[in-house]
Symmetry: C2
Amino acid sequence: MKLEKITQTENPSRRSYDDACGTAHALDLVGERWALLVMRELMLGPRRFGDLRAELPGISANVLTQRLEGLEAMGIVKRRKLPPPSGVQVYELTPWGLESEPIFQVLGRWAARSPHHDPTLAFSAASMCLSFRTMFDASRAKGLALDAGFHVRGEDYHVSIREGVLTAVRDPAEPADFVLAGEARAIAAAVYGGVPLAALEANGALALKGDRTMAERFVTLFPLPPQVGA
Amino acid sequence: MKLEKITQTENPSRRSYDDACGTAHALDLVGERWALLVMRELMLGPRRFGDLRAELPGISANVLTQRLEGLEAMGIVKRRKLPPPSGVQVYELTPWGLESEPIFQVLGRWAARSPHHDPTLAFSAASMCLSFRTMFDASRAKGLALDAGFHVRGEDYHVSIREGVLTAVRDPAEPADFVLAGEARAIAAAVYGGVPLAALEANGALALKGDRTMAERFVTLFPLPPQVGA
DNA sequence: CGGCATCCGGGAAGATACTG
DNA sequence: CAGTATCTTCCCGGATGCCG
């Protein structure tokens, strides 16, 4: 029973750029701190509040609440209650919210050339899958059919390559040619950092099961653009 | 005399997401308020401090100073002093900064479908030109060769269409088939709002010189995507 | 424990006045 | 014209606590 609820949703004082430009309006929608990263974590499917908190290092609970409320008010995110008995509440992107994926692609591609990029920082599994979608070079996968499994922090991800098309999804522990288990940043070290899989296995960062040849082929499919001034 | 100057520029405490994800790093680079809009105004070429201030309704001088400093530190913007006698200082994008154009394209395209978009707000001439680049539908311009001039707030813009390719630049008052003079939002009303040119001329919002048939063809070349829920 | 409200400190943004 | 100085306001981040 909310009395005196300050409905900030209907309060027009939200800082707006008041600009008809599409970019400006996009920033009104998703320009607040953390907003795009929350959406990133939802790109692979519904997530719970606690999942989001765990995957977004540094966000505080109240800010996450505010972002989810704001994104829901904008029609980008929808909250849904799973049917009993689980009954848990999850947040998911609306169809229009899902259409934001190109934003992540171009931001990622552009920022990858930054001279200030530090690839050794934390890396969520969703980021990893989206980066695969972004950086995949179909010309390197001619005639390749491959199913990769990743086990990161208790969850399974599946990446499949068929006829030059890559798809990445969460959860369905489908059969895979190989499975890599470990932190996303270790997988990234192999794919983007050129660190040999054997080295990452040797120091315990990764565990590989299955077809090693396929795994070593996989990590060559995602070339990074050259950094500026390099 | 400033004693105790807090040199925030060399202070690494700048809020960062500390995330290896490309999107997160992009937000570290250009996620601060106004940053992308400053870049937008620079996409068509160098601008002076005062130009930027005038074209960004609502930005305050100190924030603009901070953004320009930050973008320069990141290698996105460069300040340059024009040779005497003008000797004025201008800001321009670096080559890498120019490569950010796809960001504006996808943000604009995605936000154009927003149910909250209000196209009657202010609209800078740079936004207009970028929106032409973004929304241009080459399939509607088959076999069309066209040169359009726009006169907005004392400056000239030139849009040319050749063999399905649109280019938009500032300043070079090149020969054009027609010239539209008025506020950018009035031009947008014709191109995106479907308002007849004659109506905008009648109420004084626009003045048309030159080939009217070409102008009326031009405004049909930029279809908007359907809004969500419509 | 998940979701959310509240309080507080620090810092970024907004507005205005001021200077070379 | 091109910023700087200063003050206020608001947002963000962290901690705590309530409630189902």
